[in-house]
């Protein structure tokens, strides 16, 4: 089959149309009220206009448009096709024909004259737009991370030949989409009309497309749907970061360590290649009032407790359907808990961003060039934790620059690079997050700390103390070795506050140093503050919770281990692990159960075995803090409420390990003696 050039087909068709038009116009002169004739003439003009524009006869199209407009009035009966109009119409027809057949030799002046004539028939107010640009080119919009859409289609949409899934596909062409189907309106099976669409969709579109591009997708169904379209604005994170460009000008700092505001470079000498990062961050920050999140967390806590009660009732019941529902609710509560906690998680990178400015300013004020290297910005922590970490970290960084990093002269004398370096890193270690602040400065001056401690009467002169122990004095209130009190540090407030803050977050702080090489401060923090997965155990009559994250394994205490009283060590596949009998630790009278269980718990590198009477099972524990009366109690980090309404204490594994280690050391010492 040969396909003819459509333009030729058009010329042929137009010739036929002109004949039909001429005939109709002439007949109209005789019978001005014949609707059939008017329709024929109108249709002819309409086709000439429409097709003409399509085959490149633009002159024809725009001319015919006016012609058609005039004739539309005739069709609507607003003007009568009198002799004058017919004459002009015929002239117009001839002109159009000339435009199509001899476009080059046709003078537009004639056309304009005819149009002027025609316009006498048209009212002045008809200015309908002829060309419509339905396909607006997507204009790139900046500062927008994407769109949040909610699509609710008229439920008859499928009948009209539209498939909502196709529209979702079209959205995906604009960018990555997160699509959630909302099934709220889907009726029961008996009421379900299969030809109807009952679903709604939530779509998070990651794209820098503009609104018009989205409207284009739905252009055919705009009247048959409700489209909610909210822009997701660019990262909140980037607004947290102060603009650095102007402050860095004229300063000796290497720019690449400070100019990238929103993110930090893992290696200062490596160019950053994560342009998408800030977008992701923008999407991850939907602003919600903090109190609402806190409230939500409280509710979830209550829900978890109620769920535990339900679980207990269900366990005692024979009703299978109750059991099924209890299981369902347990699953939902757990995932709701995780989601809620997830919603409170903030990447620590948002905090690191502030430190760039801080280090930049400190470095300038003190005349010590310092570069900042950060890693693990993506590590997420509870929002409250992040907020409360800010001050301690600022303090640690100040200390590092003020006391740790030497000035340029001393550094080059020590054979170090002139630019000091501070590394802040974050990462997961089990259920804990480790945040370290490391400098490559001079390291702690143990002798000076010792002298200061002796001077303040904290340490007896000449008493033996390990370096580790001496460094602990740094956390003592009012302890400062800075010889001069600078504006930044050395006022003796700080390290003790840092320690207190970290401990109030159920975390711990460690300091280690290598003379001449630098100092490392390590903060260990729990992932969350509110709810933990716990292992419920029984010792005597009392029930306790061991944070599941700290539990490495559970085993039965073998008779051989049981006999070895006095030597509380267990051979765990070649490793000697000290263990604690919780019965004796808690001073519980009576005979222990015949088959004692052992739980190997760990914190960081060290492990301890805990001997218990019974392991009951896992338990979601909503942490309630202990009252002030119990502030002396170190073995427990808090309490929780069990399903039956009774309370269980939560063991502080780190403290237990310290006790276990202490015993093992004393035992080792005894054995050595």
């Amino acid at each position: 089959m040969t396909i003819m050039d459509p333009a030729d087909v058009f010329r042929q068709e137009a010739a036929d149309l002109f004949e039909a038009l001429e005939e109709a116009l002439l007949d109209l002169g005789q019978r001005p009220d014949d609707r059939e004739l008017i329709d024929t003439a109108f249709r002819a003009l309409h086709t000439i206009k429409g097709s003409g524009a399509m085959f490149g006869f633009d002159e024809v199209a725009s001319f015919t448009h006016e012609f058609e407009t005039a004739f539309d009035l005739v069709r609507k009966g607003e003007i009568k096709p009198n002799e004058d109009l017919i004459t002009v119409a015929l002239a117009a027809k001839d002109y159009i024909r000339a435009l199509i057949e001899q476009p080059d030799s046709t003078d537009t002046i004639i056309g304009d004259a005819i149009l002027d004539e025609l316009r006498r028939f048209i009212g002045p107010n008809d200015k309908a737009a002829f060309r419509e640009t339905t396909y607006a080119a997507p204009v790139a919009a900046s500062g927008r991370a994407g769109w949040k859409l909610q699509l609710a289609f008229d439920n008859q949409i499928l009948r009209n030949g539209s498939n909502p899934l196709d529209y979702l596909d079209d959205l995906r062409k604009l960018g990555a989409c997160l699509v959630t189907a909302l099934t709220d309106d889907v009726p029961l099976l008996e009421d379900l009309e299969p030809e109807y669409c009952f679903l709604k969709w939530d779509v998070t579109l990651h794209s820098d497309c503009d609104r018009a591009a989205i409207d284009d997708v739905f252009m055919f169904v705009q009247d048959e749907m409700k489209l909610e379209c909210l822009p997701i604005m660019a990262a909140e994170a980037s607004t947290l970061v102060p603009p650095l460009a102007e402050t860095t000008a004229g300063h000796s700092l290497p720019l690449d360590t400070v100019n990238d505001g929103s993110q930090s470079a893992p290696q200062s000498d490596r160019p950053r290649e994560e342009p998408k990062k800030s977008d992701d961050k923008g999407i991850s920050t939907v602003r919600v009032q903090a109190e609402r999140l806190d409230e939500l967390m409280d509710r979830v806590g209550e829900l978890v407790i109620a769920q535990a009660r339900l679980g207990q009732l269900a366990a005692a019941s024979d009703d299978v359907s109750i059991k099924a529902i209890a299981e369902e609710i347990e699953r939902l509560a757990a995932s709701l808990r995780d989601t809620t906690m997830g919603a409170r998680m903030v990447p620590i990178g948002s905090l690191f961003g502030r430190f760039r400015r801080l280090i930049h300013d400190l470095s300038r004020d003190l005349g010590k060039p310092v570069e900042l290297i950060t890693s693990g910005e993506d590590t997420e922590l509870d929002k409250t934790m992040i907020e409360r970490l800010a001050d301690p970290l600022v303090h640690l960084i100040r200390n590092a620059i003020d006391h740790g990093i030497e000035d340029e002269a001393n550094r080059s004398a020590a054979g170090k690079t002139e630019i000091g370096r501070i590394e802040i890193s974050a990462g997961h270690a089990g259920a804990q997050v480790l945040v370290t602040v490391r400098d490559n400065g001079a390291g702690l001056n143990t002798a000076r700390i010792r002298a200061k401690a002796e001077e303040q009467g904290l340490l007896a002169p000449g008493a033996t103390a390990s370096d580790q122990e001496i460094h602990q004095f740094l956390f003592h209130p009012g302890f400062s070795t800075a010889q001069t009190v600078s504006a930044l540090s050395g006022r003796g407030v700080g390290m003790d506050v840092v320690k207190r803050t970290i401990e109030s977050l159920r975390g711990s702080i460690d300091i280690s140093t290598t003379p001449g090489q630098g100092t490392t401060v390590t903060l260990r923090l729990p992932l969350t503050l509110a709810i933990i997965e716990g292992l419920l155990i029984r010792v005597g009559e009392g029930r306790y919770i061991v944070p599941l994250s700290a539990v490495e394994e559970c085993a039965e205490l073998s008779a051989a281990d049981e006999r070895s009283r006095g030597r509380d060590f267990l051979n765990m596949r070649g490793d000697l692990v000290p263990f604690l009998r919780l019965r004796s630790l808690f001073d519980i009278a009576g005979q222990p159960d015949s088959f004692q269980k052992i739980i190997i718990a760990s914190a960081g590198e060290t492990r301890v075995g805990l001997i218990v009477d019974q392991i009951i099972g896992s338990h979601q524990s909503v942490i309630k803090s202990l009252s002030k009366l119990h502030s002396e109690v170190t073995m427990f980090s808090g309490a929780t409420i069990l399903g039956d309404g009774s309370a269980a204490l939560i063991l502080d594994v780190a403290q237990l390990i310290a006790i276990g280690q202490g015993r093992s050391e004393s035992q080792t010492v005894n054995e050595a003696a």
């Binding site: 396909i3 003819m4 459509p6 087909v9 058009f10 042929q12 068709e13 137009a14 109108f42 249709r43 309409h46 086709t47 206009k49 429409g50 097709s51 003409g52 524009a53 399509m54 085959f55 199209a61 309908a128 737009a129 002829f130 060309r131 419509e132 339905t134 396909y135 499928l158 009948r159 009209n160 030949g161 539209s162 498939n163 196709d166 596909d169 079209d170 030809e195 252009m219 055919f220 009247d223 048959e224």
Partner: protein
């Protein structure tokens, strides 16, 4: 590859549609008015109908209503061609059951875009 029925009293429009859609792998069936279009739709079960609105014998709106009344053609996408940019016409056609529209004059890409929007492989 889809069966596409084009209903238009203008041969050049039908030709234009054919010229654009045939190379894209579609099978184009032609009808010169609504009544013929309805017959061909019953016979050939098209995947898409592109129809003009102004036609002799049976106009586009009547055709759309007739097609929508046929259970066998449920969910058939129907696109109408219009020179009118005014919404009243669009609304009327949409109420009759049209899926979408193409505003004349259209470019090849626009026609292809609409077809690929409504006909999925």
């Amino acid at each position: 590859m889809a069966n596409i029925l084009t209903v238009d009293d203008s041969p050049s429009i039908r030709q234009m549609i054919k010229v654009v859609l045939a190379p894209a792998g579609h099978n184009v069936i032609e009808a010169s008015d609504g009544a013929k279009g309805l017959e061909k739709a019953k016979a050939s079960r098209p995947d898409l109908v592109i129809t003009d609105l102004n036609m002799p014998v049976m106009n586009g709106l009547e055709l759309i209503r007739a097609l929508r009344a046929m259970p066998a053609l449920l969910g058939l996408p129907i696109v109408f061609l219009t020179t009118e940019s005014n919404d009243a016409v669009k609304l009327e056609a949409k109420q009759a059951g049209a899926t979408g529209w193409i505003t004349k004059p259209f470019k090849q890409e626009q026609l292809l875009a609409v077809v690929s929007k409504l006909v999925r492989s």
